[in-house]
Symmetry: C2
Subunit: 433 residues, 2 copies
Amino acid sequence: MNAIILSVGDELVLGQTIDTNSAWLSQQLAAIGCDVVAQLTVGDDQNAIQQAIEESVGRCDVLLITGGIGPTADDLTRQALAAAMNVPLELNDQWLHRPQAFFRKINRDMPEMNKIQAMIPRGAEMIENQHGTASGIRFQSQIANRKSEIFVLPGVPKEMKSMFQRDVLPHIQQRTGGAIILSKILHTFGMGESWIAQKLADLMKRDRNPSVGTTVSKGIVSIRINARYPSRDQAQQQLDATEQQCRAVLGDLIFGADDDTLAAAVARSLAPSRLTISTAESCTGGLLAKMLTDVPGSSDYFTQGWVTYSNKAKVDRLGVSENILNTHGAVSEPVVQAMARAARRLARSDFALAISGIAGPTGGTPQKPVGTVCIALASAKPAPSGAGPSSSDSDSTSRTFLFPGDRETIRDRAAKMALTMLRFHLLDKPLPF
Amino acid sequence: MNAIILSVGDELVLGQTIDTNSAWLSQQLAAIGCDVVAQLTVGDDQNAIQQAIEESVGRCDVLLITGGIGPTADDLTRQALAAAMNVPLELNDQWLHRPQAFFRKINRDMPEMNKIQAMIPRGAEMIENQHGTASGIRFQSQIANRKSEIFVLPGVPKEMKSMFQRDVLPHIQQRTGGAIILSKILHTFGMGESWIAQKLADLMKRDRNPSVGTTVSKGIVSIRINARYPSRDQAQQQLDATEQQCRAVLGDLIFGADDDTLAAAVARSLAPSRLTISTAESCTGGLLAKMLTDVPGSSDYFTQGWVTYSNKAKVDRLGVSENILNTHGAVSEPVVQAMARAARRLARSDFALAISGIAGPTGGTPQKPVGTVCIALASAKPAPSGAGPSSSDSDSTSRTFLFPGDRETIRDRAAKMALTMLRFHLLDKPLPF
């Protein structure tokens, strides 16, 4: 079972748009055991599209085409498909009804040029588009005794993805023998991809089922598990078993799964006990607070933060002593500890995170090169035995890191490491690196 | 003059990596007037690579291949090229010298498997790789009377790009007749792409030279101008003339060019007069401060900011009166004006920006739906005539916006709009929307 993906659009061959559709479709197909043998891209040129269809269709079970089915003069995929299949384009009343209804809904007359979107190659079926006027096309071809399914979808990712999952995937899955593929992605932060891959070497052997692979994006190393079995129960059981094996190896390094983010994981740990966090940032300039408030509902645990970029702001706003600043420098553990304690006290929060570092590109010294970042976490002092609930006095811990990369990377890693320090504190465990 | 781009790699056909090389190469080729007729991607499969080369090479003047020239068992591009060209692979002593030198430099022995990287198809030339061990390959083929140039480059973007610009582009440029293409990109924020395109309709006619096109990314609508002429002087002159025409139409909507960002444009306006800015943020949660400190050297104009996410923080930190909060609600112009005035006063900055809004997904009301954002700018009161330099009393202006999109989009647009309000204030002009 194999597939070819054909993307159509001048913006792609001109390099103005990066094609993300092909990678997404390839992942979807790989997950159900359908091999993508080639991805092909051509511009809005009817002959080029027709030639690409003719050359591809005899070589694959499934030909997925995206783009070129809009209403304008440079949308030529339907014409090219009809020509390649040697059938006429016909106006279909049922299809005409769709764009008409779409325009009625937004209280506008359908422009005459949208009529082309109701033309389909004879013998084709319609794939409904719930988000736009460009319906998709399904066509079954038979060339040289090879039956191929051709699917045409819009190039707009949101429309394409919903149509693929609802109306294309089930057809392909049927042909792959109905195997069930279940997937899970586990996320880690703090260790490099090669370290993770080495730890998981046994599980990552090629041809293992469930398969285990790693990817990395902005410091987050993710582990993708795909389980492919005849029955859903079996797939789920094996997926769970492999997930447990990954968790046994990596433990608390795993902060979440699938669409999870580090900030959401921290939010989840704070929420049940109604714990709150405040921030005091220097080099990250608000990024840590921004991450914490990326999460909907973050007002439950985050009330305020300071961006004390200058030394004077650290003194005026957080009462950091000029003596500490002069003795140790702004990028030092005593300073971030003072910042964190003050933020916690002023915000009356359960925790406070403080960051000070050298994000570059300038400002580094041999002792404190660019990438040096100090992070502190303030929390309540453990209550003396026999005393009441936790005291309001701050205890604080701090660490110094050296992050590689450019200004943007250093700031991103610093904010993520601060979240990670809080996460391990909430787990009541030491930072594992 | 046309080209085909062939990308090789299992990670691409599995959808694990998004192919950004093809778009980059397409842009480079478009800029020198070389049409990309197709982009093609296959996995690490020698037969598939060979077939793709055989089918492509007779149809184009230039075949650019990336990927598959590393030292491991799944790097098969050189073998496929030799087979497609019907020549043997030969060990080349001069080439062997390269990876050996690379490993000597990092004080390690060259692994035996790197020897394959010194094998080249007979008749090929080497393209030096200054960043890694995978040298590139240049091969001139002649099939059915069509002379084609084949270039093989590594898949690692950094290595590929530097080799392409140094050793591939000049060869291709020679064949395109030596025309000079100069480009400029102008950036705007605040109006939609279709509005900009309508304003520039005359300049955006197809086949115009210099050509003018628009793209949009995260609310920034950019205008790309490409001028293609026989001489550099002519290209520069025509590029400048078209840039002036765009500027005549769009005026101050254009905030910068090429790699510029909105925050950098604001920084540029503040720097000469040593003006400073502080921030007070609610719904953007630190994003505005983060954008201002994205710019290296931002400590010159940014000293501090507040993230006052809760009402209590607005009262405690910025002295916003509970009365105003209760009467108008946290998302209101009186509140952001109070926040901005307080931030300016406490930070002793020349300006302060304050943002409060409903980023969603919940929290909207019929009167203030999700996307409602109030932004205020505080600045010095104009001094009464005859008085000394600007007084320290705050004057403040504010606006309410309704931004469409999800939480991330609303927060992004709000922060960018705040920067835009400051930018127009520094220009001493009203906001044009």
